[in-house]
């Protein structure tokens, strides 16, 4: 453990194209791209499923299958199977990570939409909102906390798993692990693991704050109010 920290504190490891900042940025870039692509796909599908209440069974089954997928195996398979795979290592990497990130985001999206009180949706429809308006003005804002929750758990998985990108000679924090493995450079491996964990923790905190921020004020009021409302207020017409 101490060796790992010493390795981290060595100024020499904080510069250059193989230094910690570079690897950190590479890792963040891979994570960000993955979440962007998976987010677009999974949010579109999840919101559609939540709104129409259709296709849920199919997606739950598919998500389960995706979760059981052996990440490293798939990565190597895609890289070797397709001609571009080894030259453009980013593509098989992104495919694998996106596949990994989709299930939690999807689940967050449809669970979020389904959590909206059906009476609220029904009243909105009866008022004359179009389906599109119901989705974006009612269901989406009310589902946001759960959607962010889904993105958060996807992010955690992607940050951890993005280390495998290094296996097919891509950058990221995984390089510290895979480069050190043949050399049995345990301090560097430890440092790499610590960096991944720290990054995950910081991002997790960030998502937690975002999740709090997107909780609609009125919904927050609903939660806080149960305690603070005085009896006279409650009975007043």
């Amino acid at each position: 453990m101490l060796d790992g920290l010493n390795w981290l504190l060595d100024p020499a490891h904080w510069t250059g194209s193989r230094g910690i900042p570079t690897r950190l940025l590479e890792h963040l870039a891979i994570t960000g791209m993955t979440l962007l692509i998976a987010g677009v796909i999974a949010l579109a599908a999840g919101l559609a499923i939540g709104h129409t209440r259709r296709g849920r069974g199919l997606v739950v089954g598919l998500s389960g299958a995706l979760r059981a997928m052996p990440t490293l195996g798939l990565l190597v398979f895609i890289a070797v199977q397709f001609g571009f795979g080894v030259r453009l290592a980013i593509i098989p990497t992104l495919i694998v990570l996106v596949v990994l990130a989709i299930p939690p985001i999807l689940a967050g999206a449809y669970a979020g939409v389904e959590s909206v009180d059906p009476a609220t949706v029904d009243a909105s429809r009866a008022l004359g909102l179009t389906e599109w308006q119901i989705l974006w003005r009612v269901e989406f804002p009310l589902a946001l906390p759960l959607i962010v929750g889904g993105l958060r758990s996807a992010m955690l998985q992607v940050v951890a798993t993005a280390t495998v990108a290094a296996y097919i000679s891509l950058g990221g924090l995984g390089r510290f692990l895979f480069d050190a493995l043949p050399l049995r450079d345990y301090p560097q491996m430890l440092a790499g693991a610590l960096l991944v964990a720290a990054l995950a923790l910081i991002l997790d905190l960030l998502f937690l704050l975002v999740g709090k921020a997107v909780l609609p004020t009125g919904v927050r009021a609903a939660r806080g109010n149960r305690r603070s409302k005085t009896p006279t207020e409650r009975t007043a017409a």
């Binding site: 029904d122 009243a123 909105s124 004359g128 909102l129 009125g218 009975t235």
Partner: protein
């Protein structure tokens, strides 16, 4: 005018919720659909704004078939108020009320001004404008619901048990408020309830429904009370029991009015020369109110509509702030009936009680 023309609705699961229902609802009046749970009231109501599509039959609004109209356009022309307000929890009171006008591209300032106006109409303090629904009482939420229903100034207002979830005292206030609003605005209101007292209080016309949306009886509250069409109706309106079955009992030289639950509802004040005798109704039943029975036909303030007298020779003053004081079944000497509540009941006795048939 809303016209149901041979409307049936069978849900995909096979439930026949409405079976060949036909009725005309006159404009600018309140029609109440009343019936026990599952009788098809909500289904009927929601077919008007195409929230439910009928399996067969037509619904016409001012001779226009609603099936030919775009559902969204149709719904934006019709106010809808439901039991649990259905307010958007993430929008303030003001935003909730202004929702549809803003969708209809009414300029923001105008929509906000109108929303403030509506808050006043429904008796909401404008200080509540910035609150969220969760920060309001149940009664206040329903008022917002009504204001929202009125926001596009619709000709038609559909109300599905809007006061069903608030406590009796608040419900009472909301009912009075609705009647006041209706006197001002004169909308075509279709009101659904399972509470017969509420139906008689609010309805210009009352449709009593049995399972499958079958019309057990349709008419004014007076017509129904004075002439229940069937055993089912008589039973449903409780004509022979409870508060509506009034009888007289002699006690120490005075005539007491006793309701079907055995509670003393009042004293028949035939012998007092000094004016009407006010008798508080016993018990916690706020519907019973106060009954004043007297012989003088003195003009009382606040005389709304004189009652229609059956067979008596002396015209009584009837002052009722609400309809259907009930039916006093007898031949002579009309009393003054002053009741602050509807449907005090049917006075079924032989002596000294005239038949009084009141309308609002």
């Amino acid at each position: 005018m809303i016209e149901f023309d041979g409307i049936s609705k069978r849900f995909p699961d096979g439930t026949l919720a409405v079976d060949n229902f036909s009725l005309r609802l006159p404009s600018r009046e309140i029609t109440v659909f009343v019936g026990s749970s599952g009788s098809g009231k909500t289904t009927l109501l929601r077919m008007i704004n195409r929230m439910v599509e009928p399996t067969s039959g037509r619904i016409l609004i001012d001779d226009e078939d609603v099936a030919s109209l775009n559902p969204v356009t149709l719904r934006r022309r019709i106010g809808y108020v439901m039991q649990n307000s259905g307010l958007l929890p993430h929008r303030t009171v003001l935003q909730n009320i202004a929702t549809v006008p803003l969708l209809n591209r009414v300029p923001k300032a105008e929509a906000v001004a109108r929303a403030h106006e509506l808050m006043e109409t429904v008796g909401l303090d404008s200080a509540l404008a910035k609150r969220y629904p969760a920060e309001l009482s149940g009664g206040q939420q329903q008022r917002v619901g009504v204001a929202r229903g009125l926001a596009v100034n619709p000709n038609i207002l559909l109300m599905d048990e809007p006061f069903g979830a608030v406590d009796p005292i608040v419900r009472r206030e909301l009912q009075e408020e609705l009647l006041r609003i209706q006197r001002e605005l004169a909308k075509t209101i279709v009101f659904v309830t399972h509470d017969i007292d509420e139906a008689f209080l609010l309805g210009d016309h009352v449709t009593i429904l049995s399972r499958g949306g079958h019309v057990a009886q349709h008419g004014s509250p007076d017509e129904i009370l004075s002439n229940p069409a069937s055993e089912f109706v008589a039973d449903f309106i409780g004509a022979d029991r409870g508060r509506r079955a009034l009888t007289l009992r002699q006690s120490e030289g005075r005539t007491l009015v006793v309701d079907g639950t055995g509670r003393i509802a009042g004293v028949l004040g035939a012998e007092t020369a000094t004016g009407p005798v006010s008798v508080g109704a016993g018990g916690r039943d706020e519907h019973l109110g106060e009954i004043t029975l007297g012989t003088e036909a003195a003009d009382l303030p606040g005389l709304d509509t004189p009652g229609e007298l059956g067979s008596s020779s002396e015209a009584p003053g009837v002052d009722t702030t609400s309809p259907n004081s009930g039916e006093l079944g007898s031949e002579n000497e009309a009393p003054e009936v002053d009741t602050t509540s509807p449907n005090s009941g049917e006075l079924g006795s032989e002596n000294e009680a005239p038949e009084v048939d009141t309308t609002r």
